[in-house]
Symmetry: C2
Subunit: 135 residues, 2 copies
């Protein structure tokens, strides 16, 4: 795997699980499919569990399952669960001294926040079920 693989891994895994929502899968199975390591899978899926998208069971015969129907999981849910904030405004420390600069800085920051917000809205229009499609 390379870069930005958390989102990719999450989407692939959720889409895959959407094919048989009741089936419980182990992190080892998922890692095999994704070509990575079970610990990496548990790391990423752990975030999705915290966000209420997945459930996990410990112990013998444990594993991972969707916490809701794939129709009720949007790409925005996944994006927010991973806390990626792809469109960040750089450093938060960078506070310009000049007041004109400061005003401009805030304006750029505001624009970038708007952009991210509309990205999230767009992501909210697509569900995992739709990603998977019909097969």
């Amino acid at each position: 795997m390379k870069r930005n693989s958390r989102l990719s891994l999450a989407l692939h895994t959720l889409s895959h699980m959407a094919g048989d929502p009741e089936r419980v899968r182990t992190s080892a199975d998922i890692a095999d499919h994704a070509g990575t390591n079970p610990v990496v899978v548990r790391r990423v899926l752990g975030r999705l569990r915290e966000a209420g998208l997945l459930n996990s069971e410990k112990g013998h015969a444990g594993g991972w399952k969707l916490a809701r129907s794939p129709q009720e999981i949007t790409l925005a849910d996944v994006y927010l669960a991973l806390d990626e904030s792809l469109i960040s405004t750089g450093s938060d420390e960078e506070v310009p001294s000049c007041s004109v600069e400061h005003a401009l800085h805030r304006r750029v920051t505001g624009v970038m926040k708007d952009i991210e917000q509309s990205l999230i809205e767009r992501l909210n229009e697509t569900t995992i079920s739709e990603v998977r499609g019909t097969e």
Copy 2:
């Protein structure tokens, strides 16, 4: 500066230059304003020049200037010039063996491309001139 600072630096610089489009600025001046290094500035602005957004002149009294009016530079221009592709689908090498997996993989990739495309369309609606606003 921290992370994702290329986009931030580019937007701040372009917005700043929009305030006096005819003025030629050196990378040292810009670096001072942005709190970074002239070489870093030239690196990022070099990409904007390749995309036709800026012109640079070498030699004594050289520097950087907008190549077009700020009304004619959109956020999409900047985004594409930097070749960020924030919404990448991870590795391109990751080609699943199973054909069902392969189909799913392509579908996830396709969805992410769609998302990125609509992000670009959204970015295309805002110009540098609008970012700067009126002051």
